[in-house]
């Protein structure tokens, strides 16, 4: 390239860098006039086009460049971005392979070809390329690239299990063929060891690890040491490991809990199941002797460390627990004594309760003794440490309360005590800056938990009102307490005040990957609260924002996988790939997708475009193997073990949605959209750009999609609320009824393709790629004439006809109950049922379709169903609006404050409660009014 041209191309890069795609296109066009054949300019234009969503135009240029078989580095890089933007990872592989073939001595091209395969998840070809590169360039690193590629292929879900060992053997053979030993590089060593472990070549692994180099590596590398520990265990070397661990604890003062666990495992290693009673009694004797030794060791450590480290103390407890479980205990009181000792030493640390939790499941005498000990903790506190100790004692006591101790009266007494101590405890932290957490926060959370339980016990809403008032107060005293906010979010949703839940959610500053793990707090069944039908896109926007992370994952993570190859950090590669997969196939991602869809169809007019697009996307999702990354443990649980956790207690509608819920809704919508769409598989294949998702070896997925959509799996249905179940049954009956008419009426693929091609050409000025209209023309002639008679029109099924009447009854059953959530649930599902009906009947809107196919009688029955549905929905709409008028009034606020007797006192005064009351009733008013009016709007939009 001439220097002049180079200078002219610079500005295009600058424009692309600043996302000025339009000016990039203009600049490209200008240069292309002078250099019509220049592949770099074409590639850059294709990139600018794909970034401006002009896919068709970009495709044409992209293919032109690919046909030129580029080898120039700049062109290849630009094309890499183009193909990535189009989702064509496999074509990227072909492009680099072609380039590498032309310049087989170009090492950089070889590496790029390898990376392209890695990005596309084609481990096998990656392995072959790496092997070739190793032969050619004689760099050890390429040998290891081929080793890890074989390992990755073995671990891939598409690899049959029979191939796994074979691939690991290949990896092993390649490793041992290396001219330099693997231990020259920690990560190569790690890879080598993991292969040996997989192949159960423990002897070989042991030899490597036991060498001086091996020991030195393990001393500084946590990950190699992790593998070593695992291999020792698999080899049955727990006694040796225990000795090593003891040495580390004593000589090196290592306080890694893993070392203590090794000593514990070694202590009980004698008790492997043995059929011979004699050997078993000697084993017991050996074990008891070792127990004494370990006890002395831990005791010594505990004394040496004092309060500086908990390891010794906790190891004593764990030892006693295991002694008991093996029936070797000699002192029945020892466990509780150790627990007391632990509490005395560590009780003033926030983590004491969690540390002791595994030992709390006591019975009878032990329990009585422990309880009376915990109760004896002095309730007065003048220092932070005393306050923490008191909080720990409350948590410990509460954990062991039995159902007979959890009466309404007893719980009310506990709330009063916790609140009083909370307010007292706040004084200790009065001087803290607003960025600090109050130690007393946990008392407010404890009180909040009791109030939630009182609500569960009595179904009386006043307890939740007390809870939000208290927790709102707590957040004014400790602004950064995310635990307080999490509980508030949950309770506000239960109370039907979603906008307040949203405020607290936003205040937590959820970012990046946290969207995947935490957005369930806000978006679980959020369509119940969505006002999208009135044009309020708040929740739709939250859905879209929470999904940005999946985009960054697909754009960025692969780059870091490539980086890990370049820097030879083999230990990280499988971790990165697993991370990418977990995020890409996240359950929460697709639950949000479904919620978004449910909100979207209430907002946007239902057209065949939406139906087609959503259909394709949902089908992709349906084939995914999902991972549940949602974090439910984050919300602190202080409920007794006899009860459900606070997480379970505060789930909206008491149901947690998971894979079953997702699968049920996916099946419902895929089926409805398939019926409503003209796209069948052959059309889809032609219209779709980019790679298809990988197929697993799971035999389930080889059942044809049609059959899978019809499966009704009881286990999945347990995740649904009764209202959702009714909706599912309605949808199924509707689809069963209309299926034959859709199948008969749907135009043949050739017609659909011809139409799509026509539209594309009209829109972009270019023909649709890959569709041969000439050939299609021959097929389209028969359009309109069918050999069979149209299916006879049948009466609508009972489930469909009666659905809306049923809804009416159910709505009147829940309307007016204190929290509006049930009424909102019934109303939004009924609205969704009407929208689904619209999807299913859209095809028959066209008079000519009805006439040609003789479906007049069918359409007539639609009218009856629709007018009944609309009548019911209008009533519901009016009722919700009426209810909203009663909310946000002085009466409601007074009733709220009157119910807050438990928390109102000198610190949390009447005015504070009134303020909370105003917020809650206003929020309810807003959602009732919005959903009510929205239902009305939907009725108007689809009245005919």
């Amino acid at each position: 390239m001439s220097a002049a041209l180079d200078r002219q191309i610079r500005p295009i890069y600058d424009a692309l860098d600043t996302s000025s795609n339009k000016s990039a296109i203009v600049a490209c066009n200008k240069l292309l006039k002078k250099h019509p054949k220049n592949e770099l300019i074409k590639a850059l234009k294709a990139l600018a086009l794909v970034r401006s969503q002009k896919v068709e135009e970009s495709l044409i240029l992209c293919d032109e460049v690919l046909d030129m078989k580029p080898t120039n580095d700049a062109v290849l890089t630009a094309m890499m971005h183009v193909l990535r933007g189009l989702g064509r990872h496999k074509d990227m592989v072909l492009m680099f392979e072609e380039a590498y073939k032309q310049q087989p001595n170009n090492e950089e091209l070889g590496a790029q070809t390898f990376f392209a395969n890695i990005r596309a998840g084609q481990w096998k070809s990656a392995q072959q390329i790496a092997t070739r590169m190793y032969k050619q360039f004689q760099e050890d690193r390429y040998l290891y690239w081929s080793v890890i590629s074989a390992v990755l292929q073995a671990n891939d879900i598409t690899t049959p299990s029979s191939m796994r060992t074979l691939l690991y053997k290949l990896a092993h053979r390649l490793t041992t063929s290396s001219p330099t030993p693997s231990y020259q590089n920690t990560d190569r060593f790690h890879l080598h060891l993991s292969i040996l472990r997989e192949l159960e070549l423990y002897g070989d692994a042991h030899k490597l690890l036991d060498s001086d180099v091996g020991k030195a590596i393990c001393a500084t590398s946590l990950s190699c040491n992790e593998l070593r520990r695992d291999i020792w265990r698999l080899r049955g070397l727990s006694k040796e490991e225990g000795e090593l661990a003891e040495a580390r604890i004593v000589d090196k003062k290592d306080r890694n809990w893993l070392e203590f666990l090794s000593v514990l495992d070694a202590t009980f290693s004698y008790l492997a199941p043995s059929p011979d009673p004699e050997s078993s009694s000697s084993a017991q004797a050996n074990c008891s002797a070792h127990v004494t030794r370990s006890q002395e060791l831990f005791q010594r450590i505990a004394e040496e460390d004092g309060q500086a480290d908990r390891s010794g103390l906790l190891a004593l407890l764990e030892l006693e627990k295991r002694v008991r479980s093996h029936g070797l205990s000699t002192d029945p009181e020892r466990l509780v004594k150790l627990m007391q000792q632990y509490f005395e030493k560590i009780g003033d640390k926030a983590c004491c309760f969690e540390d002791l939790k595994p030992y709390l499941e006591l019975e009878e005498n032990d329990l009585a003794q422990w309880t009376s000990y915990s109760e004896s903790v002095s309730p007065s506190f003048t220092t932070n440490n005393e306050l923490r100790r008191l909080i720990n004692s409350h948590k410990l006591l509460r954990y062991n309360l039995s159902s007979s101790e959890l009466t309404v009266e007893a719980e009310i007494a506990r709330v009063a005590l916790y609140i009083q101590q909370y307010l007292e405890g706040l004084k200790l932290g009065a001087h803290l800056p607003s960025t600090e957490l109050q130690i007393a926060d946990d008392l407010a959370l404890l009180a909040g938990s009791v109030l939630v339980n009182l609500w569960k016990l009595t179904s009386e809403e006043q307890y939740l009102l007390n809870a939000v008032t208290l927790l709102e107060f707590a957040i004014t005293k400790s602004k950064q307490s995310f635990q307080t906010r999490l509980l508030l979010i949950r309770i506000y949703r239960l109370l039907g005040a979603p906008s307040l839940a949203l405020d607290h959610y936003r205040a937590m500053g959820i970012k990046q990957v946290q969207h995947d793990t935490l957005s369930h707090f806000l978006l679980s069944r959020a369509s119940t609260f969505s006002l999208a039908s009135t044009g309020d896109l708040t929740f739709i926007t939250e859905c879209l924002e929470s999904t940005q992370i999946y985009l960054s994952n697909s754009q960025e993570t692969a780059d870091f996988i490539v980086r890990a190859f370049t820097s030879e950090k083999y230990s990280q590669i499988p971790e990165f790939i697993a991370f990418e997969d977990r995020l890409d196939n996240s359950l929460q991602r697709d639950i949000v997708k479904v919620e978004h869809l449910r909100m979207r169809i209430a907002h946007e007019p239902i057209t065949s475009d939406i139906i087609d697009m959503e259909l394709i996307e949902l089908k992709f999702i349906f084939d995914r193997t999902h991972h549940d990354n949602r974090d439910f443990d984050i919300i602190a649980n202080y409920q007794p073990r006899a009860l459900d956790s606070i997480n379970t207690q505060t789930l909206l509608f008491g149901r947690k949605e998971g894979l079953g819920w997702l699968s049920t809704f996916l099946k419902l919508y895929i089926r409805a959209f398939q019926q409503g769409s003209d796209l069948d598989d052959t059309v889809e294949e032609k219209l779709l750009i980019g790679d298809r998702p990988k197929q697993t070896v799971d035999p389930e997925n080889h059942v044809p999609l049609r059959e899978r959509l019809l499966q009704r799996i009881d286990e999945e249905l347990t995740e649904l609320t009764p209202e959702e179940l009714l909706f599912i049954d309605y949808a199924r009956a509707l689809a069963d009824w209309l299926e034959p008419y859709h199948d008969y009426t749907r135009p043949p693929p050739s017609v659909v393709l011809a139409e799509a091609a026509k539209q594309t050409e009209l829109k972009t000025g270019y023909p649709l790629k890959g569709v041969d209209l000439q050939a299609l023309n021959g097929l389209t002639n028969g359009h309109g004439k069918k050999d069979e008679e149209p299916p006879a029109v049948t009466e609508p099924p009972e489930l469909v006809v009666k659905y809306f009447d049923n809804v009416k009854t159910r709505f009147s059953g829940v309307r007016g109950s204190s929290s509006p959530v049930q009424a909102l649930h019934v109303a939004t599902l009924a609205q969704e049922a009407l929208l689904l009906f619209t999807v299913e009947t859209l095809r028959f809107k066209s008079a000519s379709v009805v006439k040609v196919n003789k479906l007049g009688a069918l359409v007539a029955s639609f009218k009856t169903i629709r007018s009944n549905a609309i009548a019911v929905l209008r009533e519901i709409s009016a009722d919700l609006v009426k209810q909203s008028e009663a909310e946000g009034t002085a009466d409601k606020r007074k009733a709220f404050v009157d119910g807050c007797t438990i928390v109102i006192n000198t610190d949390i005064d009447h005015d504070f409660a009134l303020n909370t009351a105003k917020k809650v009733t206003d929020a309810r008013k807003k959602v009732l009014e919005g959903v009510g009016k929205g239902v009305g709007r939907v009725c108007t939009a689809y009245a005919h």
């Binding site: 920690t186 990560d187 500084t220 590398s221 946590l222 990950s223 992790e226 306080r255 890694n256 809990w257 893993l258 203590f260 500086a308 480290d309 908990r310 390891s311 103390l313 906790l314 190891a315 640390k349 926030a350 983590c351 969690e354 540390d355 939790k357 595994p358 800056p433 960025t435 957490l437 950064q480 995310f482 937590m508 970012k511 990046q512 990957v513 946290q514 995947d516 793990t517 935490l518 960054s552 994952n553 960025e556 993570t557 780059d559 870091f560 980086r563 890990a564 820097s567 950090k569 230990s571 990280q572 971790e575 990165f576 697993a578 991370f579 995020l583 990354n629 974090d631 443990d633 984050i634």
Partner: protein, 205 residues
Amino acid sequence: MSILRPFKASDMFKFNNINLDIWTETYGIGFYLSYLSRWPDLCCVQEAPSGRMMGYGASSISIRCLHMTVSHHFRKPPVIGKAEGSGAEWHGHVTALTVAPEYRRLSLARKMMGLLEMVSDEIYKGFFVDLYVRCANHVAIDMYEGLGYSVYRRVREYYGSMGIGKGGRDEEDAFDMRKPLSRDPNRRSVRANGRDMVVSAHDVS
């Protein structure tokens, strides 16, 4: 009592109890992946026996101090490390070190620092380890001094845009604290009057 183990990419799904705390920033996934793809041995996690994450740390290794975009933990700066510098400037840099609120006061930061120093010393053969801390963060400064760190210089407006708050200059200035490793037996990487050596943020980026 806690498990010290390597930080793994999937720990990003588990670190909410640490990262929801106001002083710990949640970065894009690229931040964590870039450290893991270069210095995985300088990234570690402290985990409770229950499997709950208690804290994590990371460092890097290099020649000059890289420009820092990390806002430090107020009480204990977050531990993620890297190795920096050439010749006598070759050193480890603690980038992020953080402990969940409920696990503070358990010497976890101390243990993670121990690991990061050990690896910077034995594997990367650095001359020293350094870190930045808000001048107002007395708790952290005391802790680092207890661990053998000393102030090398004061970096003006290092935590830039916050403006002068209650704590005055101490809120926005940082101390660059250093601790010599075994390759620097003559302690050339530290000095006694570090608190008086003031540089601007531009000089260290």
